[in-house]
Symmetry: C2
Subunit: 376 residues, 2 copies
């Protein structure tokens, strides 16, 4: 909670829940990443929060950008950043989208299989490709599936096909899982990456780059290690596996860059019990899973919540959103402690909402407007 956000909310005249993002915090976060890994290029993961003001700030600060779609590439180019600062990091791309990105100047693409290499070879001749390998995601709070990446053993074949197809086999990428609590989670993947570098060198193909992905956390209710600890552990792991021939490196912070810069103001719509004997209150807010708080899915992300009654005695409650959908419940398996004096109409502040909120919002489920956002 920053003073700037507090001041803004005091004078806001619109009604309804809203996100407020403080650019000063993002500027500090960028500097923290740049300091923690001084020889690594920062590619901001645009999907975390693509607000033009956020992209403009990061473009001016010198960041590069990890984009998931042509739409995101166009947003980045709109800041004035040049296309050589863009990575098209989605391993799942239509061939016509690759072609469009190439026309826009993008020359760096992710792949995780031969079919994707073939598409890029056809419409983006000479482009650099990096192969994403699977990671187990242990230690990450947001579930990581096997959706992206191939087994490390398959990567050399994919990269060799790129090389033979006239592309530049450029490197290896991985992602240790979003909201990663273990600063050593990068070690195993870097060992795999180094092994792929050696294997490719033995085939006469020299890789250049390791894309170490995101995973850098935000402090939600659970406190996390600082960025400096991650930087140190990653640098040690790089040295351990690559010796004194360190590759070019990339990180893609998204949540870690913007998560703690935003806060949602919401309103208590209803507080009720299901029976006279019920010990558990249900607290309903005017925002839920479908209007910005999608990451409460499976109660994965547990946001800190401030209320005007903080300091009073607390009791557990089920916290839910305002829609007529049974799954629009934020915290139930592990009830949330809130003041017993909390009342209908109270405003609450949901902290660390700068990432993965606005764009997750539905276009209008139940007739409620998408999440309003202000970047200050």
């Amino acid at each position: 909670m920053t003073q700037r956000i507090r001041d803004f909310l005091r004078t806001r005249r619109d009604d309804g829940p809203c996100l407020v993002v403080d650019l000063d915090v993002i500027r500090q976060n960028y500097e923290t990443f740049a300091r923690a890994l001084p020889d690594t290029n920062v590619y901001y993961a645009v999907k975390a929060n693509p607000a033009p003001e956020v992209l403009n700030l990061l473009a001016r600060a010198g960041s590069s950008f990890d984009c998931a779609s042509v739409g995101e590439i166009e947003m980045v180019l709109a800041t004035g950043a040049t296309a050589n600062r863009i990575s098209y990091g989605n391993t799942i791309k239509k061939e016509r989208d690759i072609e469009r990105a190439y026309q826009l100047g993008v020359r760096l693409f992710a792949v995780d299989c031969e079919a994707e290499v073939e598409k890029i070879a056809r419409v983006a001749p000479g482009a650099k490709v990096f192969c994403r390998i699977l990671c187990d995601g242990a230690g990450a709070d947001w579930p990581l599936s096997r959706k992206f990446g191939c087994e490390p053993a398959m990567a050399p074949k994919v990269l060799e096909l790129a090389h033979r197809s006239g592309l530049r086999a450029y490197g290896v990428s991985f992602h240790v899982g979003s909201q990663q609590s273990n600063v050593d989670a990068w070690d195993g993947a870097l060992a795999s990456a180094a092994a792929i570098f050696r294997e490719m060198a033995a085939r006469g193909i020299h890789l250049s780059m390791v894309n170490m992905g995101g995973g850098f956390p935000t402090d939600y209710l659970k406190k996390m290690p600082g960025v400096a600890s991650y930087g140190e552990a990653i640098f040690q792991a790089l040295s351990r596996h690559f010796g004194n021939r360190l590759p070019e490196t990339i990180i893609e912070p998204g949540r870690g860059m913007v998560g703690n810069a935003g806060m949602i103001e919401a309103e208590v719509v209803l507080i009720s019990k299901k029976s006279d004997e019920d010990t558990l209150r249900w607290v309903y807010l005017d925002i839920g899973k479908f209007h910005g708080l999608a990451e409460t899915m499976d109660e994965a992300i547990r946001y800190p919540i401030r209320t005007p009654k903080d300091g009073d005695d607390t009791a557990p409650c089920v916290l839910a959103g305002p829609t007529c959908d049974s799954v629009d419940v934020l915290y139930e398996k592990v009830p949330y402690e809130l003041p017993v004096s909390l009342s209908i109409g109270d405003k609450v502040l949901i902290e660390a909402c700068g990432a993965y909120t606005t764009t997750y919002s539905s276009v209008g489920f139940n007739g409620f407007a998408p999440l309003a956002a202000y970047v200050i």
Copy 2:
């Protein structure tokens, strides 16, 4: 799959995934409901698909409307339907939204606790209220939580407060759970409703109406009983519990009204394996959880999918969406059988997507546009 949708898709010029809704199917569904329960008023659950063309059709056909918000109430009024055909069925309402609805002419409101009665009494004097009671949701495919409704034992107190506050204690509502496969699921809740009618009569307050909610299914991969079977079972349960003094009744079909009227056309973006030994293909579409197929959450709803290679040998695959989010996977726990000859670039047709798709779509997650929709 209707001929009209087939014809439309053949001549469509826009690119990208889209939903096409056939109004003829919705007209037939409305007539089917009206025939199955001739003495029951149909209140279409607007949240299932609030497209203006759908609301206009149902308004002309004589339907009433179940609304979740002031936004939905305004959409219904825009059809020319009068406010006496609207139920504000959300139990979670801001007092100023109740007031606004009342100003717009709405006189029928849902409650499930005393606090909500107090709000309505303050700003909607004389309005009719019905108390929602909890239902266990057994037999429903879409998870039903305890979010809405109170224990039946608490309902008389809530309704008596309404009566004493100058409101009209009008009835009882419940919801047996969305995509309900058991035609007898209404029986237990109707028994509870009848008991509340008797208890209230003993207090000198005579209830008039039972709102039997939605739950009427659409045929996805799993075939379901027809509407007539539900109508018959419900009528028998009503007679069993209310004898020959049947109350006014309401049903709120949403999915059952529009689910089978819509179809999504999508494109296969990538087919890959995670290793050379992998027996399971990953098939990635250009639409996923965040752009319309949110109801694949926990693999609850299993859509039928048609491909241009139907009839060829099939093999199981993991089906996933196009975003850079690990949770954007449609079917993985139970892999989906698709033709082995399916290729990148093939168009597939996802059936029974008329309900809970467009409005669930995110505003632009990963830079992808919201789901395009055509109502024909």
